[in-house]
Symmetry: C2
Subunit: 562 residues, 2 copies
C-alpha cells in the first residue's frame, strides 16, 4: 500500500533503519520517519529481523512454551472444537531469558542494537537513548518474541508517538479486517498498535497481527482473561490472568495494559461521578473487588507480573482504570488516588528493570490538562505518560477525533510521550479502516504540533518544506509532503481538476487573475536581500523599486493560466 | 432545515430571544444558544425585526441612497448590460444617523434593546453588556440597514463566537449556492458570516445574503473595489474604495475588514519570510504601496472611514494583512509591527465611538499562541480579538480544520473573542456546503472547549447533560444533545443499526455481554450517597454490599439485548 508515487521506503546503514524519502519536483528530497514496515503477505508475515540481534546477546533460550487451548479463542472455538483461520505462517518456539529488558541493558551501560537503531530514527546520540531508558524516562517496547518489530522509543525527549487501537468485539469484525486495519494504521503513521479484541478468536487474531506488525503491539490481557471465565468478572482469578499473560508474552506482545491501580478503597470514590468508571479494564477490576471485597489481584501479585515481564521484555502500560469519562469528572480524587498508586507501581517495576509507561485520561477541560502531565511526571519520576486524547469537551460525538486532538496536542506539548488516538466513532461504534486512517492522521498532526511547540530539533523542517512548496506553487510537492497526499490532491481537484492547475501559479481561493502569494513574491524580488539594510537604504531601495515597478506597468496580477 | 426532531426553536420574552429547546426522553429539556434564525424563503428574505427598535430611537432617517451601478456586479454585468439574479424581495431605502453606534449609546449609559437582547442570549446582566461595549472590550455588530439580524455580542467576557466564510470566486459558485452555504452555516451554529466573494455579481450576491441572514454579515470591501478597477491594485483609489464602503454600508454590512495597518515601511519586513504575505487584502495594499510608494490610503483616510462607519454602525474588523502564512513566520517583526498600528487605529476609532475588533493569525506554533492574544489585548486595550485558527502546523492540508481548531481552542481559552473557521479545503480550494458544515461544527466544539476552560458560567451544563445521557444509555438524548445529531446517530447505526440498540444498555465497544458503564452504575447503586461518609462507614458499607452482591449472584454483566 503506497501512499504517494513520490514516496519511497529506504533502509539506511547496517541497521537498515527505514525512512520515507519524498522526491520533490525541484530536485530536492525530504526524508520522513517511516512506520509502514517492509510490507508483508498476511499469510506469511514479516521476516524476524531482530532474531540475530537477540541471538547475538545469547541471554535467551527457546523453549517448548505453553500449549494453546481452544478456550484461548473463546467459547465459540470450544463449541466448534477448533479455532478459525489458524495462523498459516512460520511458527517459532517462544524465547525467554532471566532479565532481558532494554532497561536492564541500559542500566549496565550497554547500548543495544535496538538503542542504536532508535538513535538513528530519532537523529540523536545513542547515549541519550541509553540514559533515558536507564532512567525510566523512555521505553523501547520490543518483546523478544516479536522479532518482526522495528524498534521505536517512547519518551518526552523524543518525537511524540501515537498509538492506534484496533480489535474486534462481540458484535463486529473478522481476522482479515483486523489485519487490514493494522496495515492501514501503520501505513498512515501509527507508531504502535493495540489489539483490544474482546470477541471470539482473540488468540488467533493477535497471532496474525503480531506476525504482520513492524510496530510494537500492545494488549489489555484482562479482556481475554474475562472471555476465559465466560465474561463474569467475579470468576476471574490470578491464575487465569497469569496464564493469559504468559500466553500473550510468548506470542510476542510488546506492552500490556495492567489495571493494578484500581484499589478496593478507590472504588467508592467514583460513586458520585457524572460518568462513574468508563475504563473497561477498570470496571472489570472494580467489579471483581466488589464481588470479593478483596484487594485487586493485579496489585497483590504485581511483583510476580514483573518477574514474568522481565523474562520477555514486556513493558507495563499502567492502566488508568479510574480515568474520567466526562469533563465533569476530570482530575478528581478517584483519578488522582489511582495515579499515586501507579507511581508506586512504577518504582516497583523499575526494581526489576521492567520498562513502564503510565496511562492517562480521557476527558479533561483544557485548563486542567497541564496539571495531569505535571502531576504524572512528578509522582512517577518522569516515566513516559501515555494519554487517550484527552477530549476537551463532551458535546461532539462523531467528532471526538477532533475534541481529543485539541487535548492531545496540548498535553503532548507539556510532556506526554505517546498519544492514543481517538477515531470519529468514539462513544458510538467500532472504527472501520477509514476511521482508523482519520484517527491516525489526526493524531499525527496533533503529535507534530506538539513536537514543534516543544522546539524538538528539526521538527519544523517538515512544515518549512511544505510551506515553501506552497509559496512557490509547487502543488505536487505540497501534496507529496502532506500527511495525507491523497486527500490533499483530491480536494484540490474538486475545484481545479485541470492538469494545468497542478502547475498553475494561482489557487482557487483567489482565482487566476489575482494571487496574494504572487504579490509577495514581487516584494521578495524587490527586497529579497534586505537583511541588515538600514531604514534609509530600504527607503531608497523602495523609491527606486517603485519607479521600476511603475515602468514595468505595475502588474500585480497574473497571466491567465491556459 | 431542522437539525433534529427533538429540537424546537422558541422565542422567549418580549424581545423574542431565540433558543433551541432540546426535548429529552427523560422528560427534561435543555436550551441551547440558537443561531439559525426564523427561516426564510430566499426570494423574500427575513422580516426586518429590528426596524421598530431603530425607529423608536428616532436618530436615523431614510434617504435616497447611492445609485447601484452595473460595475458593482463586475465587468460581466457591464458586458451583459444587466446584473444576474436581481434581488426580488422588498427594497428599503437606506438609513443613517449622525452617530448611532452601540458604543455611542453605551457610553451615554443607555442600555439599548440590542444590549438587552444580547444579555438574555448570554444569560448575563444587561449592565455588563453596556459596560463592555462602552469600554470597547465587546462589540455588537448590527448595521441599521441590516434589521433582519438578531443581535449578538463579541467579547471575551461572553461566549466565544465563530465566523464562517462563504463567497464565490472567479472560478466557482453561483448566488444560489452562496445563499445555501449561508443557511448551512447558521443552521449548524455560525455566529457571524463573512461574504468574501471576489468574482462576478458581488453586489447582488451580498444583497441576497444580507436579506436572508439572521446573523451579522462581514465583508472585505477591498475585494469588490479591486474588481471595480479591473483587478489592478495600483489603480485603486480612496474614492473608489470610499464609494464601495458606502455601497456596502447602505446594503447593511455589519462589519468590514479594513487592512489599514499594512504600512509602506512594513512591506519590506516580509521579504525574507518563508511565505511572505498571504492575506489577500494585505497583499493588495502592499501592491498599491509599492506601485505608488505612498502610504496605504486606508491609513491616511482612516478618520474619514470612521465618519462613515458611525453613521450606519458598521464595526471595524482591523485586518492583519501581514499575518504569518506558515509557522516559520509566526510572531515576527512584520506581524507585530502591524499589530502596533492596529492598536493605534483601535484608539482612533474609539474617539468616534466606532466599534472595533482586531484580526489575528494565521499559522502559529502552540508555544507562541498565548503571546499573540496577550500582546493584542495589552496593546489594543482589550478590544475583541478575532483570529483565523491559528493553525498549529503546516503539514496537514486537507485536515486544516483540525490543525487550526487546536490553535483556535487554545487562543480562545486565553481570551480571543471570535474564531474564524477554517474548512478542510483551506489552502486547496473553496468550501462547498459540506465543508461549511464541517468547519462550523469543528469550530463550535473548539469555541465550547474554550468556554469550559475559561470557566464560563454554565458552559459545562451542556457537557454534563450529554454525559449523563451517555452514562444512562439514553442514546437518543446523546444524539439530540450532540453538536451534530445526524452524524452521531449515523455512526451509531453503522455498527448497531437495530432499533433496539437505540435503547439498549450497552454499546458496540464492549458488546451486549459486558459494559463498563453498567458496572459503575452498580457501584453508584451501592455507594450512591457516600458524600461525607467516613472511611470506616464506607468500609463497613462495602463489606455489607459485597455480601448482597455475592448473594445476588455477582452479576457484573448485562442481559443480552433482544
Amino acid at each position: 500500500m503506497t501512499v504517494h508515487p513520490a514516496h519511497t521506503r529506504l533502509e539506511l546503514g547496517d541497521l537498515k533503519v527505514p525512512v520515507t524519502r519524498v522526491a520533490l519536483t525541484n530536485g530536492e528530497t525530504f526524508d520522513r520517519y517511516c512506520t509502514e514496515g517492509p510490507g508483508s503477505q498476511p499469510e506469511q508475515g514479516l521476516p524476524p529481523r531482530r532474531d540475530e540481534w537477540i541471538e547475538e546477546r545469547g541471554d535467551t533460550e527457546a523453549y517448548e512454551g505453553r500449549r494453546t487451548e481452544l478456550l484461548d479463542n473463546g467459547k465459540a472455538a470450544v463449541r466448534r472444537g477448533a479455532a478459525r483461520q489458524e495462523w498459516q505462517g512460520e511458527r517459532r518456539l517462544p524465547r525467554k531469558g532471566e532479565n532481558i529488558t532494554q532497561m536492564h541493558y541500559a542500566r549496565k551501560g550497554i547500548i543495544t542494537k535496538e538503542m542504536a537503531y532508535v538513535a538513528v530514527r530519532e537523529s540523536c546520540d545513542p547515549e541519550l537513548v541509553r540514559e533515558e531508558v536507564a532512567a525510566g524516562r523512555a521505553i523501547i517496547p520490543n518483546n523478544v518474541n516479536h522479532p518482526e518489530s522495528e524498534p521505536m522509543i517512547i519518551g518526552k525527549r523524543f518525537l511524540v508517538k501515537i498509538n492506534a487501537n484496533i480489535g474486534n468485539s462481540a458484535v463486529t469484525s473478522s481476522i482479515a479486517e483486523e489485519v487490514d486495519k493494522l496495515t492501514h494504521a501503520i501505513t498512515w503513521g501509527a507508531d504502535t498498535v493495540m489489539d483490544l479484541s474482546t470477541g471470539d478468536d482473540i488468540h488467533t487474531t493477535r497471532e496474525w497481527i503480531l506476525r504482520n506488525s513492524p510496530v510494537p503491539i500492545g494488549t489489555v490481557p484482562i479482556y481475554q482473561a474475562l472471555e476465559k471465565v465466560n465474561g463474569e468478572a467475579d470468576k476471574l482469578t490470578w491464575e487465569v490472568f497469569r496464564d493469559t499473560v504468559i500466553e500473550q508474552a510468548e506470542q510476542g506482545v510488546d506492552y500490556m495494559t495492567i489495571h493494578a491501580g484500581v484499589l478496593l478503597r478507590y472504588v467508592p470514590l467514583t460513586a458520585n461521578r457524572v460518568t462513574g468508571i468508563v475504563s473497561r479494564g477498570g470496571s472489570i477490576m472494580a467489579g471483581w473487588c466488589l464481588a470479593h471485597h478483596q484487594e485487586n489481584f493485579l496489585y497483590t501479585h504485581y511483583d510476580e507480573l514483573c518477574e514474568i515481564f522481565k523474562q520477555y521484555d514486556v513493558a507495563f502500560s499502567l492502566g488508568d482504570g479510574l480515568r474520567p469519562g466526562s469533563t465533569a469528572d476530570a482530575n478528581d480524587e478517584a483519578q488522582l488516588s489511582e495515579l499515586r498508586t501507579l507511581a508506586e507501581l512504577t518504582t516497583r517495576a523499575w526494581e526489576h528493570d521492567v520498562q513502564v509507561m503510565v496511562e492517562g485520561p480521557g476527558h479533561v477541560p483544557l485548563n486542567l490538562v497541564k496539571e495531569n502531565v505535571d502531576l504524572q511526571q512528578e509522582w512517577c519520576h518522569g516515566a513516559p505518560f501515555y494519554t487517550l486524547g484527552p477530549l476537551a469537551t463532551d458535546i461532539a460525538p462523531g467528532y471526538d477525533h477532533i475534541t481529543s486532538a485539541i487535548g492531545a496536542a496540548t498535553i503532548a506539548m507539556h510532556g506526554t510521550a505517546m498519544l492514543c488516538y481517538v477515531t470519529p466513532k468514539e462513544h458510538l461504534g467500532l472504527p472501520d479502516k477509514d476511521d482508523v486512517k482519520t484517527g491516525v492522521i489526526t493524531y499525527k498532526l496533533a503529535a507534530h504540533a506538539a513536537d514543534i511547540a516543544k522546539g524538538h530539533p528539526g521538527a519544523r523542517d517538515h512544515d518549512d518544506a511544505l510551506s515553501r512548496a506552497r509559496f512557490e506553487f509547487r502543488w505536487r510537492d505540497q501534496f507529496a509532503l502532506s500527511l495525507d497526499p491523497v486527500t490533499a490532491e483530491a480536494f484540490h481537484d474538486e475545484t481545479l481538476p485541470a492538469e494545468g492547475a497542478k502547475t498553475a501559479h494561482f489557487c482557487s481561493m483567489c482565482g487566476p487573475k489575482f494571487c496574494s502569494m504572487k504579490i509577495s513574491q514581487d516584494v521578495r524580488d524587490r527586497f529579497g536581500g534586505n537583511d541588515g539594510a538600514s531604514p534609509e537604504e530600504v527607503e531608497a531601495g523602495m523609491m527606486e523599486k517603485s519607479k521600476e515597478f511603475a515602468a514595468a506597468g505595475g502588474r500585480v496580477y497574473l497571466p491567465l493560466a491556459d
